[in-house]
Structure formats: structure tokens, C-alpha cells
């Protein structure tokens, strides 16, 4: 992969990867930092990987780096809904309402176990089928099915718990 090809690869994959990292880290700046170091780590090792597995390899690197980052900065990451207002202005292209929703989703994702958040992300934001998720995560389709079901139930619990704490976010459609 030459410089030009690598740049094209970044252009194609970075928007989705950035949003994935944003959802599990809850901060755009951190997401971009992790993304940058992930691309560099990917470039140093991509030769060993088959071309059709580039994306899943990149996600694996980013996912592990994000988890390590979360472990290191555990205290600072879980900001809580009360402190979310100060982060609303993070992406000026989105309305305040969208940013609130994004933040709530991100908060819920952060509280999910890593495998669940990855499976949900692949299904909802990468529009992958169960079969594609099973290939991506290297697990059986049955395992994907059970993982997604548990993840949806868990995320519902998390959202309801947060709603009970404080009625700050308008969660359209999610009733108490």
C-alpha cells in the first residue's frame, strides 16, 4: 500500500471508525487521538493481514486501544448526564437536540461490555447482517444472535436507569 492508497483507505474508513470510537469513548478529541494511533499501528502491520480483513483488523486495533484508554482514564470517562451540557457544543454541525441524543447513546454504549457495544455498533451503524457480524467478530451466528439480544436488553436497562436518575435527555420513543 503506497502513501496515496493509504490516504484513500483513511478517507473511506475514518468517518465510521470515528463515530464508533466516539460512541464508546464519549469524546471526539479522544476518539480522534485513538483513531490516529490505530491507523499508524495498522500501517506498521497491515502486510501480515489479508486485504479483505483490513477493516476488521483496523477495528480490532482501535477497539483494544480504546479499551486500554478507558482503563487508564476510568475516572474521567464516565461523565454522567449531569455534566453533559458542557460537551454539547462539541460538533457544531449538529443541532443541540441531536448532540444530546448522541451523548445519551454514547453514555449508554460506554456502560455496555465491549463485545456488546461492538455487536450493536456493527448492526445499527454499519448495517451489517448477523452473518457479516459473525465473520467480523469471529463468532458463530448463534452467538451473534444471543449477544445482540442481551445487548439490546442491557442498553434498554441502562437508558431507563439514566432516565430515572434525571429527566435531562429527551429519549424519543423510549418510555419509562
Amino acid at each position: 500500500m503506497n502513501q496515496y492508497q493509504f490516504e484513500t483507505f483513511i478517507k473511506k474508513s475514518s468517518p465510521k471508525l470515528c463515530n464508533y470510537l466516539y460512541r464508546i469513548l464519549g469524546n471526539k478529541e479522544d476518539a480522534e487521538d485513538i483513531m490516529q494511533s490505530s491507523y499508524i499501528a495498522f500501517y506498521e502491520n497491515y502486510v501480515k493481514i489479508e486485504e479483505n480483513k483490513y477493516i476488521s483488523y483496523l477495528y480490532k486495533i482501535a477497539h483494544n486501544k480504546a479499551l486500554n484508554f478507558k482503563k487508564k482514564h476510568k475516572r474521567n470517562i464516565f461523565i454522567g448526564i449531569d455534566n453533559m451540557e458542557r460537551l454539547y457544543t462539541e460538533d457544531t454541525f449538529l443541532s443541540e437536540e441531536s448532540q444530546k441524543k448522541n451523548k445519551a447513546i454514547s453514555l449508554a454504549f460506554q456502560k455496555l461490555p465491549p463485545k456488546m457495544s461492538l455487536a450493536l455498533d456493527l448492526q445499527f451503524y454499519q448495517n451489517m447482517s448477523y452473518k457479516e457480524i459473525s465473520v467480523f467478530m469471529n463468532i458463530s451466528e448463534k452467538a451473534v444472535d444471543s449477544l445482540l439480544l442481551r445487548a439490546k436488553k442491557k442498553i434498554k436497562k441502562i437508558i431507563l436507569r439514566e432516565l430515572q436518575k434525571k429527566d435531562v435527555i429527551c429519549l424519543q420513543g423510549v418510555e419509562k
Binding site: Q3, F6, E7, I10, K11, S14, P15, C18, N19, Y22, R23, K28, E32, M35, Q36, Y39, I40, Y43, E90, D91, F93, L94, S98, K101, N102, I105, L120, Q123, F124, Y125, S129, Y130, D145, L148, L149, K152, I155, K156, I159, L171, Q172, G173, V174, E175
Partner: protein, 136 residues
């Protein structure tokens, strides 16, 4: 179909991942069971909520920054490789120089050691000459 069976299939039903036979069976159960129907609606709400996420955009300079960092890193590693290569070459040169110096020295020592008679001859000859010259 029983409720416990249906509950395990609802998520797949919602995601259009059920084969037609199971899909029809699940639909039949859902139409007659209010508890499972509620479960379905609840999952639908979660799906709607998750789909309401709007993508954030990455910083404009992200790609250029990453490429620059990558370039710097590879340049630095090349520089580092050159530095270590220079050290290694110098080290090899010193070793070769030392080895050749010592082997040359030992060869010459061996030469004198193995040719004691000749050296003695020269020594005596030169001494004689010297003495003769002195006498003159």
C-alpha cells in the same frame, strides 16, 4: 409456539433475520400474545432510539495530521536505522582493525620466534660488523 421460544426469536424477527417458516410462526404468536407483543414494541423503541444517532464529522485536518505523523515516524525510524547501521559498521571496522593488527603482530612475532637461528645470525652478524667497525 411458546412465549420462551418467541422471546428468543423476537430480536431476530425485528432484524429480518428469521427464515420464512419461523417468521410466520413468530408472527402468529405475536398476534395472540400481548406480553411478547410488548417485548417486541420495547425492542422496536430501543432500535428507533439507537437509529436516532447522527454521525459526527471528523476534523478537517485529521487525514493530513495522520499522514504527517506517519511520515515523521517512518522518517525517524529510517534515521534511527541509519544511526544504528553507522554504529554497527564502525564497530565491525574496529574489530577487523584490531584483529588484523594483532594477527599481524603475532605473525611477525611467530616469524622471529620460528627463525631464532636467522635472527641470531643477523644479530651476531650485525654485532660483528658493528664491532669490526668500532675496531676500525
Amino acid at each position: 409456539m411458546r412465549c420462551y421460544e418467541a422471546k428468543n426469536l423476537i430480536s431476530r424477527y425485528l432484524d429480518n433475520e428469521l427464515e420464512s417458516k419461523l417468521r410466520i410462526k413468530t408472527e402468529e404468536h405475536l398476534s395472540s400474545c400481548s406480553t411478547c407483543k410488548k417485548e417486541l414494541q420495547s425492542l422496536q423503541r430501543i432500535s428507533l432510539f439507537l437509529h436516532s444517532y447522527e454521525d459526527i464529522s471528523i476534523s478537517e485536518d485529521f487525514i493530513s495530521k495522520t499522514m504527517l505523523q506517519l511520515y515523521n515516524k517512518s522518517f525517524r525510524s529510517k534515521k534511527q536505522t541509519n544511526f544504528f547501521l553507522k554504529i554497527a559498521l564502525n564497530f565491525i571496522f574496529i574489530i577487523l582493525f584490531t584483529v588484523s593488527l594483532f594477527s599481524g603482530l603475532s605473525m611477525s612475532l611467530d616469524f622471529f620466534h620460528n627463525n631464532d637461528d636467522i635472527s641470531n645470525y643477523f644479530a651476531s652478524e650485525s654485532l660483528l660488523t658493528f664491532l669490526e667497525l668500532e675496531n676500525e
